[in-house]
């Protein structure tokens, strides 16, 4: 091979504007979107990557598989309702579930900082194994690296996952149709607020626990019941607003949602007000939106309401799956929301960094 010819190509991110990586480049909003769309996707360009889903759908001798990866850098490592270990399993399981795959196998890559208490590692490893059992996946391969003290932050965990796609429907933004309803599987904002409450030392009357949970079993029940799911997305970094914007943009559709239909727990709403956050942009780890034709909406809601989310300490009364809006028409891809006082406004993708290191 000749001497790296592409090294002469100039950086696709405007260096004058962004000479260095900012926290917001990992925040799930506009800057991360720019990095993915302008750098990673063109550089690694191939038909699979270009589908822009949380998991890649790959064909392997006639077998349809899903493949995904996520690194987890959440601080603190342990928080009400979860820890970096269970998050690393649930997050990757959920990325597979969002393309309709049955998660089967995970890898686990650890980047440990010299000086991490061995007991901390052990707690995290056990939490991963419990989460893997709950989600019915096996951790089959792994790797351990240690970086010198001061060059990491305790522990970072990467998981990659393989799932099998058993249903023929293409679950992707491209399948979204005008008239589809947007179903949300529960209240939003708990994961992000649970993390921030610990970081800021805030105390509420009740402890706000992360909603971190595996979603694959519920999704597979929906598919088994014949629900025609067009698209799904879990509401992690960037929250509900960013997820809907990504889908609207790729689908080239307008999405209209109704603020009063979006469940937010009172304590979460209160914490958002204190901290200056908009719950629409706060990360969740057990919440997703599904785009479904009207004909299937009631049945889907019924299945969601009767499903026991596999989650410790889950207060089921908080979870209230509901229709929060619908796809109105082909458009340039915007999200509109009718606010509590009846005014319609555009809901944009997250700009800047709302909550760093939330997952």
């Amino acid at each position: 091979m000749s001497m790296n010819p592409n090294f002469t190509l100039s950086c696709p991110i405007p260096i004058q504007q962004y000479p260095t990586v900012l926290l917001a480049h990992g925040g799930g909003g506009k800057l991360m979107h720019q990095l993915i769309e302008q750098m990673f996707v063109p550089a690694f360009s191939n038909a699979t990557l270009n589908v822009r889903q949380d998991a890649a759908a790959i064909a392997l001798n006639g077998q349809n598989l899903a493949f995904t990866t996520d690194s987890y850098v959440v601080r603190p490592l342990f928080f009400p309702g979860g820890d970096i270990g269970s998050l690393a399993v649930n997050g990757t399981v959920n990325d597979l579930a969002m393309v309709g795959a049955r998660p089967l196998y995970l890898s686990a890559g650890f980047i440990l900082e010299e000086g991490l208490p061995m007991e901390t590692l052990w707690r995290i490893v056990q939490s991963m194994q419990q989460a893997a059992q709950a989600a019915n996946v096996q951790i089959v391969t792994g790797d351990t690296k240690v970086v010198d003290n001061g060059k990491g932050d305790g522990i970072f965990v990467n998981t990659a996952g393989i799932g099998i796609i058993e249903y023929p429907q293409i679950i992707a933004p491209q399948s979204v149709q005008p008239g589809d309803v947007v179903i949300l599987n529960g209240d939003i904002g708990r994961h992000g607020i649970a993390i921030m409450a610990v970081r800021e030392g805030l105390e509420f009357e009740t402890t706000i626990e992360s909603d971190s949970a595996p979603l694959a079993d519920l999704v597979l029940q929906l598919l088994a019941a014949g629900i025609e799911i067009h698209c799904m997305r879990d509401l992690t970094r960037g929250g509900l607003a960013s997820a809907l914007n990504e889908i609207a943009e790729v689908a080239g559709m307008e999405i209209a949602i109704v603020e009063t239909q979006i469940p937010v727990r009172e304590d979460v709403q209160g914490a958002c007000e204190i901290l200056g956050f908009d719950p629409l942009y706060v990360a969740n780890e057990g919440r997703f939106v599904a785009f479904i034709p009207t004909k299937d909406a009631e049945q889907a809601l019924g299945i969601m309401r009767s499903h026991k989310i596999e989650k410790e300490n889950s207060n089921l009364s908080d979870i209230n799956p509901c229709i929060i809006g619908y796809v109105t028409e082909k458009s340039s891809g915007i999200v509109k929301m009718t606010s509590k006082i009846g005014v319609q406004r555009i809901v944009d993708m997250l700009s800047g960094e709302q909550l760093p290191r939330i997952c």
Copy 2:
């Protein structure tokens, strides 16, 4: 689920002795081995994980796949003969190759430190893409996280890989037989010394370049020719000595090697003497051992010698595939070496940390 019952289990690593994670826990030697065998394998226990290979062999509706992951934390990010990007592709491709799989798909997970120059990221991304093209794999899914300044070290890259196993033979330590010859595909020690030379500011008459290279094409040529490969292992962290010890232990066989048969370039040998390293323990990123029955040895060597390693700036005259030893008998699993002066000694697994952050 009830309240984490396993959290009451005590840590399987003796806390009095190892209260915290040490650099050596990631060094590829005894402490990493202990961490894997005493913590990860029992915790994540399943039939696949227990095979103790670089890649897991998984069956999926009758299709045999290989699945592996590695995180890369090498310092410096760029070094003679490679960089963290090409290393992250070649390393994972090689782990798949070592179980006889044809590598097909990779994931890419980035953990970026706030403040990383955008141009640095771009150079690494391009290098990954070039390495992926050279190894004939596609990067189909990815993830980006950003950690605050001072909580990372520029960039860490995780790749996971999926390959397809097209040949029926089980390539694993368990398949090793007495009488097998041990073939090494080239000179050892260049990757580790290339890294250390940059770190220590050492200058040699010629630049020592990393041997980082993708090995899958060569391995697939051996398999296609009908070579009965019993086991392979690439010689990364812990070097040749640790790889042979791992295989000897799992196979329950004694391996005898001959020091004068192991190619080490003169400049590498000289650098090892200056730095106080034993080349047997220095990391490589394009070298592997193959355990092959005597009948196939000549043919395998012929294929290796005529194969053009897909590597920039590779000085092919350095690469001299050769037989370095053989499997003598069933035993408790030790590696013996006849030294240059004709004395036989036991070659142990790396203890402690020889070269931190080499990959």
